[in-house]
Symmetry: C2
Subunit: 223 residues, 2 copies
């Protein structure tokens, strides 16, 4: 690989995988990815990210942030909390400050490699109630990181204002739709997916609106 120019936060989900495809079009052969182990329930997420990085032929680094699971309690890191979404409250899957932790460590890692472009799949369109997915937060975080390290990071959020359907159509256009076969969306962390959790429903709705079949389900009898 030539000198790296962009770092993608890769979780193994659909959004970060789309970001990776977009980054690779902008910086061919100059993309790296980073993932985080923070005590999340499903290490399957990291396995999916590893597989996608292998297919995309890019270096993938996993940082251990298990500390995060020790100082915060929520349904994504604790098996004892039920996944729920109640109106007017933060979803029980919210890990306080998670995207800021990811962006901060990604930025420190990137600066040490002289990388300025950081891709993250944050999206405000299908707003899920996570405050750290909002455009306002991302812009503030970008400014804070630049001030913290006296460095000109560019946090790039190509999905911020896309619908799921638009994202899927874009992925098809980029020629990387097949990558979705290896992504993990389901909160239950299973493949074939449960089909009933909020994440599965949002994914299914996107493919339906895009009028495209989900590569993840083509070989599954579940749907």
């Amino acid at each position: 690989m030539t000198k790296p120019k962009a770092l993608v936060l890769l979780s193994g989900g659909q959004d970060s995988t789309t970001c990776l495809a977009i980054a690779l079009k902008a910086f061919p052969n100059q993309v790296e990815a980073i993932g985080f182990n923070y005590g999340q329930r499903h290490l399957a997420e990291l396995k999916a990210a590893e597989k996608i990085a292998r297919i995309a032929q890019i270096p993938f680094k996993v940082l251990d942030l298990s500390l995060l699971g020790q100082i915060t309690h929520n349904a994504l890191t604790s098996k004892e909390i039920k996944i729920e979404q109640n109106q007017g409250q933060l979803p029980s899957t919210f890990v306080d400050g998670r995207n800021m932790v990811f962006l901060l460590f990604a930025a420190i890692y990137a600066k040490n490699k002289n990388i300025k472009n950081i891709y993250i799949g944050a999206c405000q369109t299908d707003y899920s109630g996570y405050p750290d997915c909002r455009d306002e937060f991302i812009k503030s975080a970008n400014q804070t990181l630049n001030l913290a390290m006296d460095y000109e990071f560019k946090i790039i959020t190509p999905l911020m204002w896309l619908t799921k359907a638009e994202e899927i159509k874009l992925m098809q256009l980029l020629g990387n739709l097949a990558w979705y076969q290896h992504t993990l969306t389901c909160y239950e962390g299973i493949n074939p997916p449960c089909g009933i959790c909020p994440a599965c429903k949002l994914r299914a709705k996107g493919f339906q609106e895009a009028n495209i079949s989900d590569p993840l389900l083509i070989n599954s009898n579940k749907f």
Copy 2:
């Protein structure tokens, strides 16, 4: 202790110890402190912080951030790099993003305890070249953390515009000057201090200007 209201970032140095004294005047019996193990050269720092917390009779939590030492290289975490200060360059003691990492984990920890007030001893007066000590950075970080977690943190920096001499005189006024006896300032991590590193020189200058004897040196024959 009654319900905690304030969290102090306590490193065992002079500035954070002064912050602790100030926080305790504002919130008597409602202060906790947090420290970080990030692979710094001198665990003596954390020992000093523990001792000061014991004297102040407050809970003290240490978070393990040794990851930071793994992804960044500098003179505070590596014994192979010499401590230097060159004009126009960041000091070799700069750990990229360190104050942001501290503030972020302090904020996550604070929110989980319903604490909104976070004290940090950042100071721009004797500007040392650390970008993440500047007021502009702190204000930006405050806004970013509030957006990240949808919470009203107040990052309080009582030392931001004080000189070292003013800080020392304030500590005397608060009646906690003796706490300085247990603080660790020297980059060499030794007690009695080396007296020649930039940190020792800055400290000595402050006491001289305040016309107050450093409690750390009263029982030492070195000076």
